[in-house]
Symmetry: C2
Subunit: 329 residues, 2 copies
């Protein structure tokens, strides 16, 4: 295992300390490291809280800040945060407007966020994301997995919360955004969980995992390596078949690297995906490219498409000021 | 070779097309793909142009935009751009204030930028960056290599150019920033140049290349894998020995991933580097963390330290609006 680490047991705490120092103008790390919160909160605003296993950075702590999340609870690598982390985060950032929890659809996350919500004794609502079209159930999920589309939900819901939207309306918005968002991924290599010390899965030198999950879970099938255009065609095809947007629909395209993929390759995938979407009569009105929802150092990428309307487009454009996303302010 | 590509011969053009589409609000790609330029330029401002071999993205095209570069000339992967690319870029963005060229110290780059400067028949000045303390000469360089510190030079010089500074003053500023900047890198794995199809170098499962260059060139020595703290101590030690800043000096810390390193590990290195710098009596007044000056998918990172003063700190804080760096506007 080749990693820039000291002791696998301390990766999360040392990394959080570095993150907290690097972005001390935006966030504060809880002294017990149960959550990362905004440096300042706005009284009465609904608090938007997310979290999940670590190893997907910058998701979620990199999205804490103005216009997006109020707090994020980091579990150990690929391990759900505990209910008391969620409770502590809610206590720290709920300023009277209630708490919206954004949770990726994995059994451990769903259970622990639910327990945390009950324990905190506050007004809460939950949005569960399940944007991955690759498989219907998977290693850690009943139903579809929540993957990179979670970023889109967090951005749009976070912008609406900043504008003063109430808890029930935000829950409805989050569910709607999730319902208009689809993703699919491909892995060229595995990641290695530090505590395990060996690759999560084995994939041949001429193979890839089509439809992979963000923990290296199996996808649709193990296939021979293909060209970027063929890979993009399969992923965009699966997304559009499921999303079924009308011709002329404006969409947001997110090409997301899994951690070990160079920017050159991601932009090459943008070029391929854009042609496919335009060929299907869609308008790529907004886009984001980069390694935002990662699987440690896994090589590969996912494509996410969200069908936009005027309101969602405006929420995407709304100011955001976080460690990983920053515009308009 | 596992990459998200179609034909190795078309990687650069397809990637540039994706980049140009993704950031069409900020940049325009020359139809012949000789350069990436700002969507709009300011009359009379000194044009700041950089470039070099591709494979280091987001350097340099990701730094084209308000407050940083006016144009970047991308060569093929790890290959210098040609003189006519530099000439074409100068023709496109020189609006009467002259042209400042920022060039990393590699023989091919220095030669081709010089030829381009002569051929364009414009008023030009050049800043050559050579911030890498690892080795005194290397595979492609006579003298020290220009590495991640180039980002710092481009940011500070770009901000000063935006504020109306003249050509001679900018050249002096760039040379001063380079003179106050030191870097050193470490590689845990090699990168694979697409046209070569195999790893640039071989490194054992328990080894790393200390002092590696950004093309996978040899560093100081091949050593056994060490802890993150020990690695940071060697790199920061070499940097401070060479830079020799007075106690109490404010510094900028850049922890830069080489492309295949997860954010968790980079932030862990921030934590380690910060402790070392503070232990040496320095004040880490500004910092930047991420994969900004990469070597395709190489795993590893570099640490860069720039000694700041009030003016340099203000230039760092000045607004920038590019694909890869964006703040304050």
């Amino acid at each position: 295992m080749k990693k820039l680490i000291n002791d696998p047991a301390n990766i999360l705490s040392e990394s959080l300390d570095g993150f907290g120092f690097a972005h001390r103008d935006i966030v504060a790390v809880d002294p017990e490291r149960r959550f990362v919160r905004r440096a300042s909160t706005k009284p009465g605003k609904v608090a938007v809280i997310s979290g999940g296993g670590s190893g997907h950075e910058p998701l979620h702590a990199g999205f804490v800040g103005y216009g997006m999340l109020d707090a994020a609870c980091p579990g150990q690598v690929f391990t759900s945060p505990t209910p008391d982390q969620i409770m502590a985060a809610a206590d720290a950032v709920d300023s009277g407007g209630g708490v919206l929890l954004v949770v990726k659809n994995y059994e451990g996350d769903v259970m622990n966020f639910q327990l945390g919500a009950e324990m905190c004794g506050r007004e809460t609502a939950t949005v569960v994301t399940d944007d991955d079209v690759a498989v219907e159930t998977s290693t850690y999920s009943t139903g579809r997995r929540g993957v990179a589309g979670t970023l889109v939900v967090e951005k749009l819901v976070g912008a609406a919360a900043e504008q003063g939207e109430g808890l029930a309306a935000l829950q409805k918005l989050g569910a709607a955004v999730n319902g208009q968002t689809r993703s699919m991924g491909v892995a060229l290599t595995s990641c290695t969980v530090p505590a395990a010390g060996k690759p999560t899965f084995n994939v041949g030198e001429d193979e890839m995992e089509m439809g992979v999950g963000i923990h290296g879970e199996p996808g649709r099938r193990r296939v021979k390596l293909a060209s970027a255009s063929a890979i993009a065609a399969e992923m965009v095809g699966a997304i559009l078949k499921d999303l079924a947007p009308a011709r002329g629909t404006e969409v947001l395209l997110l090409v997301n690297g899994f951690g070990g993929t160079p920017a050159m390759e991601l932009y090459l995938m943008v070029d391929a995906a854009r042609r496919l979407l335009e060929g299907a009569g869609l308008v790529v009105a907004r886009n984001l490219t980069g390694s935002y929802v990662t699987s440690l150092e896994m090589a590969g990428c996912s494509i996410t498409v969200t069908a936009l309307d005027a309101r969602l487009r405006a929420l995407w454009d709304a100011p955001v000021h976080t460690a990983a996303l920053r515009w308009g302010r």
